[in-house]
Symmetry: D2
Subunit: 354 residues, 4 copies
Amino acid sequence: MDPDNLSVVLHAKGDLRLEQRPIPEPGPDEVLLQMHSVGICGSDVHYWVHGRIGDFVLKEPMVLGHEASGRVVRVGTGVTHLKPGDRVAIEPGVPREMDEFFKSGHYNLSPSIFFCATPPDNGNLCRYYIHKASFCYRLPDNVTYEEGALIEPLSVGIHACRRAGITLGSLVLICGAGPIGLVSLLVAKAMGASQVVISDLSADRLAKAKELGADILLPVKREDLPEEMAKRVESMLGGMPHVSIECTGVESSIQTAIYATRSGGVVVLVGLGASMTTVPLLNAAVREVDIRGVFRYCNTWPTAIAMLASKRVNVKPLVTHRFPLEQAVQAFETTRQGLGVKVMLKCDKNDQNP
Amino acid sequence: MDPDNLSVVLHAKGDLRLEQRPIPEPGPDEVLLQMHSVGICGSDVHYWVHGRIGDFVLKEPMVLGHEASGRVVRVGTGVTHLKPGDRVAIEPGVPREMDEFFKSGHYNLSPSIFFCATPPDNGNLCRYYIHKASFCYRLPDNVTYEEGALIEPLSVGIHACRRAGITLGSLVLICGAGPIGLVSLLVAKAMGASQVVISDLSADRLAKAKELGADILLPVKREDLPEEMAKRVESMLGGMPHVSIECTGVESSIQTAIYATRSGGVVVLVGLGASMTTVPLLNAAVREVDIRGVFRYCNTWPTAIAMLASKRVNVKPLVTHRFPLEQAVQAFETTRQGLGVKVMLKCDKNDQNP
Amino acid sequence: MDPDNLSVVLHAKGDLRLEQRPIPEPGPDEVLLQMHSVGICGSDVHYWVHGRIGDFVLKEPMVLGHEASGRVVRVGTGVTHLKPGDRVAIEPGVPREMDEFFKSGHYNLSPSIFFCATPPDNGNLCRYYIHKASFCYRLPDNVTYEEGALIEPLSVGIHACRRAGITLGSLVLICGAGPIGLVSLLVAKAMGASQVVISDLSADRLAKAKELGADILLPVKREDLPEEMAKRVESMLGGMPHVSIECTGVESSIQTAIYATRSGGVVVLVGLGASMTTVPLLNAAVREVDIRGVFRYCNTWPTAIAMLASKRVNVKPLVTHRFPLEQAVQAFETTRQGLGVKVMLKCDKNDQNP
Amino acid sequence: MDPDNLSVVLHAKGDLRLEQRPIPEPGPDEVLLQMHSVGICGSDVHYWVHGRIGDFVLKEPMVLGHEASGRVVRVGTGVTHLKPGDRVAIEPGVPREMDEFFKSGHYNLSPSIFFCATPPDNGNLCRYYIHKASFCYRLPDNVTYEEGALIEPLSVGIHACRRAGITLGSLVLICGAGPIGLVSLLVAKAMGASQVVISDLSADRLAKAKELGADILLPVKREDLPEEMAKRVESMLGGMPHVSIECTGVESSIQTAIYATRSGGVVVLVGLGASMTTVPLLNAAVREVDIRGVFRYCNTWPTAIAMLASKRVNVKPLVTHRFPLEQAVQAFETTRQGLGVKVMLKCDKNDQNP
Ligand SMILES: NC(=O)c1ccc[n+]([C@@H]2O[C@H](COP(=O)([O-])OP(=O)(O)OC[C@H]3O[C@@H](n4cnc5c(N)ncnc54)[C@H](O)[C@@H]3O)[C@@H](O)[C@H]2O)c1
Ligand SMILES: NC(=O)c1ccc[n+]([C@@H]2O[C@H](COP(=O)([O-])OP(=O)(O)OC[C@H]3O[C@@H](n4cnc5c(N)ncnc54)[C@H](O)[C@@H]3O)[C@@H](O)[C@H]2O)c1
Ligand SMILES: NC(=O)c1ccc[n+]([C@@H]2O[C@H](COP(=O)([O-])OP(=O)(O)OC[C@H]3O[C@@H](n4cnc5c(N)ncnc54)[C@H](O)[C@@H]3O)[C@@H](O)[C@H]2O)c1
Ligand SMILES: NC(=O)c1ccc[n+]([C@@H]2O[C@H](COP(=O)([O-])OP(=O)(O)OC[C@H]3O[C@@H](n4cnc5c(N)ncnc54)[C@H](O)[C@@H]3O)[C@@H](O)[C@H]2O)c1
Ligand SMILES: [Zn+2]
Ligand SMILES: [Zn+2]
Ligand SMILES: [Zn+2]
Ligand SMILES: [Zn+2]
């Protein structure tokens, strides 16, 4: 095994370095992976630019990256379901304790969960990485490594659409056509939504949404009034949406989502904004429009793999840029500038294919 | 039949009159009822004092009252499940259209619903009243008329606790110990909550809550900080509540409810406050604390009757005052002053028993 | 209006007649429809051949037909959402009472429900027919009358897949590739199933299933052993199905469905067989495989129309034969012989298009 | 620490021995417990008498016992939530793998689960026992060891009532008044059931059910016809039960449960009977009566402790016999003869209190 373990390490706000790290040894229930493809997430860039997200503050150097796939190189003594050579997608959140949340199937809510590239836990933007074997999922031959890496953002969309209760014939509003809005769009259609309207400030992002299957585009201007936007959504869809999935975190967009949603429907909050938000809660309450948050995901990898393998969801068009791991800083800069949708870092020197 | 149909009619904001009205004839699917006991609700008083609630504005004289029970006097030609002499509790909301909400079991959300004492629909604070037979429910002999009338507020508690998903072993926070907070308390315990903490500004109301079975009392002062209140709730309960039922509509109390609720739990909004509210939505979202409104109720009368008949819920202590119908203005004044919990008007001259 | 109201009337077991009936007048909440397309259902043929289905016994002449669409000719005085000229699909089951089932959104379970062509209620295989307006649904221009008529069998599939809890990534077994198995297949895929295996005795029916999108075909022979079939399903799918939808009613096929289904999964019983069935209930119980029946459907028409209008479900290939109303007996004979999938009767002399 | 580790070991069918075993050392995530109270379960006796239950066959000597509580003596290096001296109840099923069942909150369905006294896994009818710390739950001071041991059977009742969807106002039929029927009764009432009717062949068992809060007793004779029993249940309750919980495993009783249950209701199968069962599946299907099995339980210990600590469920009357560990054979003989309800073995020489 090549001793090169080039890693993308954030030392402090603004201080991103490419450096060599030792190749770790897997414990009994772990696997050592040779990383192949790792997508850059808005949160990676946010740590780079701000050094923190909410209460999570970078205190010591941390490897970035959590949208990842790779190849099994070595397996721990207790690992039975994986073997060297297996191609796997990595679920970055691994519960550390068997607490009430884990036992009841909501391990994403476990407060002590390990999560790649959330301080102080290291991510996997490197050449070699160890992970809990039970949170690595074998990819079928017809699913590429990049699709494997994209399961992470796709999982946010799956969890959001599940929490939304999207089903056959749902009319859906998605606010924001960034990567998260786009994966929510893909999943909503695959779950049976009959019409999806998607909003954004940017015409380019809306065009991408159209390409990915959005039925109706709603261009938004900052000064638009939420109640009026809600009326436009209703008339565009020929009825109020059963579900709104908010993927911007912007206050006015949350307000639009609430006003727009049909009585008895659901607003899902995926976008993360300010800590206090002013919203028409009374309007939601008396129309029994439920407001449900989303924190990452749980139990999504097998579902996502099934959908990718059966070609029922196509995430490939999300990838707009690729860089070799050595050019990580340039890749981060691309994401920071909001160019394209998803930037992929290629970690395997000998295989830079999708 | 005595032609006296003394009725409590609100003519305009502040203008409440006792006047005679003709005794109506039931249509084919209706019943004529001799009213027995009618509770006064905060909303009745609100119409009296302000002439409106939100978008519902009093435009012409309206009979007040919607927490009611009575005796069947005459049945329409198509009515088969009721007969003269039957004692019934009245569900005041009757859907007018077989729309999507009614067909799917959420008739309370039907926008064209008839609702007693919500303009322009008349209520039943009178001697004789007609109602759709299918929304009158026969009372067993061991359930009194007043219990029958109290099914209306109790229904708000049932619907709130159902929406909250209260179940065996739930830890529950109830904000506000007014009539609605108290019925929520009764229902929460009956559904299996193991510990209920209830908050209020008023020591008297908390004392009543204690009498009705509250496990822990939380006296609140206006200046208390929501995040600190949330910590007190956790330490009082020995854990964060799975469910918070907000029955005040006050912004700081809604904030407390959100901060207090356990990750993956539910905040139910029963209290109706300002149209815009500033809340820690981000905190709720990343902990997947769902926020669910309550608009009245549906499918609660049979449940309530079953609970009252089997003596598993005791609503009798809620009644603190009784007045004959003739003294309605005095009764309203009592409620307006916040004296006691529930004021009952006795509409049957020959039977003023509970 | 043409006074011709040719109707397909079953007088007794085996005695099917084409006869003229008077054109009825719509009541206040009804509409008069000029029928356009009516599919023949297995149950129509069953009444013809046996004069009964279970406890429903033909006692007096009855018009057959319940998979239907038509054009509004006249509306009752209270009807506001429809007008003459509207093209509509007809939901054949109309609850007569506001009982607990209707109020809670399960009106299909209301014991006193009206249902077209279930004795003693007349169906709509005729030229002119009146129906409750609130159970007629306007078809968008891009949905044909035949698609409108096919909403009835499609609804069985929708209700079955809802009851099954099919969702993103579900692996599904469908037993039987008759019309009901096929619509279940269409709906399962539209709801996100990643792989559907479908079984039948007939190679022709399996071929049709393939054409409609089945991923895997499972030819069955009468002597096949259920436990072995279950193992074949698992190996074909690469895992046990999360859901099995039984659409044959045959005992051995129900057994296969139970053995095959993954622990924690669901078997939905759509097929109607013998009154007593011998099944491996212990196997289901200790693996918590739920067994859920399906009785027709509720709240499916708007969903179906949304799916058809958005072209997310294609039912057109189900229609294999068409006959003018005058040739109804020949059409029934075709269905009786099990030829093709769905036979359509064309009731409008001036428009025999799909 | 006293080196005495007297253990109740089943060597083969009929060969139950009291013998000394070494005191084990806890691993990093385990605790060593001094056992206090262990209830005898029907399954313990079944292994003793038959040497097997279904596919679980005793192949080498196995310690019996799985309804247990004890005191922490030593904790593994990684254990933080427990310390020596803590009184704990033991959940006997501990998942070994983080498979799909565990991750989604149904760890009871994990095929590789460890389970006390299910071959080949040893139980805890001994003086000293080690267990996974995360499946030991601290008992509050006001919950006795015996209550702690009774959480195991109580958990079956909790899981059954949850699966049944029992809620406020449910009418409930429980078939069988053995220990499992009785705990289901306790839980059903605590979850809000308004009326519970319970059946049994034995008058003694029915008398015990009455003592524990059953509303209506239904004495059964072997020759009673299921359809007639169902009618009796309906007339006793004044309506068909929403839920039936079958706790006998006897075919005729399962049939009664299906016929008796209200349309849209649920039959829960707790009782384990023959591998093939003949049942009126058609009746269940067309009335959408769901049939759901129960396999042990998951996520019940914290709930049970909350209910016991708040005195909302009283399991104490279930204990009818107590024996010191040394008299285990006599204790088993008592259970085998069906005397009383629950027999407790007292494992701590110095504390034989409840
Ligand atoms: N809850 C979670 O677990 C989770 C996980 C991942 C991302 N997120 C959050 O989801 C959000 C979206 O993530 P992303 O990666 O797609 O971000 P992004 O910034 O790339 O996309 C957001 C999009 O919203 C658009 N937008 C801004 N204001 C708008 C408005 N008023 N109306 C309509 N559109 C508007 C922007 O133009 C942009 O295209 C972020 O807030 C992120 O923090 C949450
Ligand atoms: N959603 C619905 O369908 C529905 C139905 C009925 C009533 N309501 C609403 O429910 C609310 C309660 O109704 P009610 O009749 O009990 O009203 P109420 O005014 O009698 O009771 C409210 C209680 O809240 C207490 N309170 C005020 N501020 C508080 C704070 N910061 N913390 C704790 N307690 C505080 C008050 O002292 C009072 O006892 C009202 O807002 C009413 O409009 C809603
Ligand atoms: N529950 C409801 O509300 C409802 C509604 C409509 C139809 N149904 C029932 O659904 C069932 C299917 O209806 P349909 O119109 O498709 O009937 P159908 O007779 O046309 O189709 C049944 C199919 O099952 C196949 N089959 C028979 N035995 C089989 C076996 N052992 N394994 C696999 N396939 C087998 C047959 O070859 C046939 O193709 C019928 O029993 C019908 O009564 C129920
Ligand atoms: N599913 C699970 O996870 C689980 C867990 C524990 C026990 N069980 C099963 O639950 C059942 C009950 O357990 P238990 O310990 O209470 O057993 P038990 O044998 O003590 O009680 C069964 C009771 O059913 C009564 N009975 C028998 N036939 C009857 C009939 N036709 N009608 C009414 N009552 C009848 C008996 O008189 C007896 O009182 C057993 O089958 C057991 O195997 C299942
Ligand atoms: Zn990310
Ligand atoms: Zn009220
Ligand atoms: Zn049909
Ligand atoms: Zn047991």
